[in-house]
Symmetry: C2
Subunit: 252 residues, 2 copies
């Protein structure tokens, strides 16, 4: 398919690379930041613009990979009644695009995408559309770049987006706090990397409830007390420790 | 080296397999549960007992891989003044073993070990000992089963054990809660597995602070409000969401 990508960030870049690799033609990149747009266009071997008036009108699909709050503004600028216009956001309704086209939808990559990545991570794609024709086009497009395509309406997509916040944002924040703690205590954070890897690896085949271990689950009060004493100068760590310990114990 | 393993659980089993694979002789397994002891002995091609009186006195090293609360009891039973006696616990002082031998120490695997695993995960080993001779023996033993050996005294080991609780127990508990949420909401938890994998993969090369994304970090109040509304019937999820969102925002 011929595709115009609106946006130059992580999602635009990674989806652009995947679409390119799948043999689609990225016919233009639009970016408010002309430099970022031309850089991405150079990488994807296409042209770029930062003027709405010269956005190419001949693509099959217009992929809006911009920040959540910018989607509405872009939809107002882009009037493309017979084109497929889709956004890539987890927590934004597809209806935000209805003024832009009568063929609109969502192609949401359920993955943490970073343009600095040296590889293209496996990325489930959740799709939704205003009509069956558009849905079929998005299914074809999605299947060309992912082994896992799933239908999800606005409500289901928002729920999975919430789940993703826990599995990525919150998990990563715990790593941030623990890396800081290790630095301050003179401990080598690198020692924890195999444990982090194994925790994620195991869940690929074993349900998490079967893998739960640790002092909270064992109700090992002596160890919990020792841990709490270590966190006097780390109020964030301590609050999270107390809340999660309580939550684990209520689940047993 | 010739080793007696005291214990039959996850740590005893995985360390036994690693020691076996490294060419050491496991000369006996002791377990209070005779059946579990003979099963592990069968797997490791050695003998077993559940009587203290017949514990083999001719090993070089006695590895106590029992629950934290059982270590003291075992140390009372095992009087082996000229043998190396070590425990494998993160949150227990090495001094608990001083009545058992004058050569005692700790060999703590900083990893989540499950005997059901079909593979032997990479496992940093933290060592500590009562004296330099014992330390040298533990270093040799540790290096035979791990690429990463690190000295850590009681205080450092306890701090790393706390860090491990966050990186494994708490992270896994979030997966437990999210899997339940997905089941109740009719969502496919499997869709989140690539995201979980990528979150752990990325930290192997990129510091977690550089990977932080999401509505909390962006201070995207609209999305946060939508998420909170979804969690009315999930008080555990909601409390964790609120606390971690606050913590992420205080870190920006």
């Amino acid at each position: 398919m011929d595709i115009v990508i609106i946006g130059t960030g992580n999602t635009a870049t990674i989806l652009g690379r995947k679409l390119n690799a799948a043999g689609h033609r990225i016919i233009q990149i639009f970016g408010r930041d002309a430099k970022a747009a031309s850089e991405l266009a150079y990488e994807l071997n296409t042209e770029s613009t930062n003027y709405w008036s010269v956005v190419n009108r001949n693509a099959h699909v217009y992929l809006l990979a911009v920040s959540d709050i910018a989607i509405e503004e872009v939809a107002k600028e882009l009037k493309l009644p017979y084109k497929v216009v889709v956004h890539t956001a987890g927590a934004v309704s597809k209806e935000i695009l209805k003024e832009s086209s009568n063929h609109y939808g969502v192609l949401y990559p359920l993955q943490s995408l970073k343009k600095e990545s040296s590889y293209l991570p496996e990325t489930p794609i959740l799709i939704d559309a205003s009509d069956n024709d558009t849905l079929m086009i998005l299914e074809i497009l999605g299947k060309s770049i992912s082994d896992t395509i799933s239908l999800a309406n606005d409500a289901q997509r928002l729920k999975l987006h919430l789940a993703a916040v826990f599995c990525n944002n919150f998990v990563n924040h715990m790593y941030v706090l623990i890396e800081e703690y290790c630095q301050k205590e003179g401990l080598d954070f690198q020692l924890l990397l195999p444990l982090i890897q194994e925790t994620a690896q195991r869940i690929q085949t074993i349900p998490p409830a079967k893998s739960q271990t640790g002092p909270a689950k064992r109700r090992d009060t002596a160890t919990i007390e020792k841990h709490l004493a270590l966190m006097e100068s780390y109020p964030d760590l301590k609050s999270i420790y107390q809340l999660l310990t309580k939550s684990i114990q209520q689940h047993n």
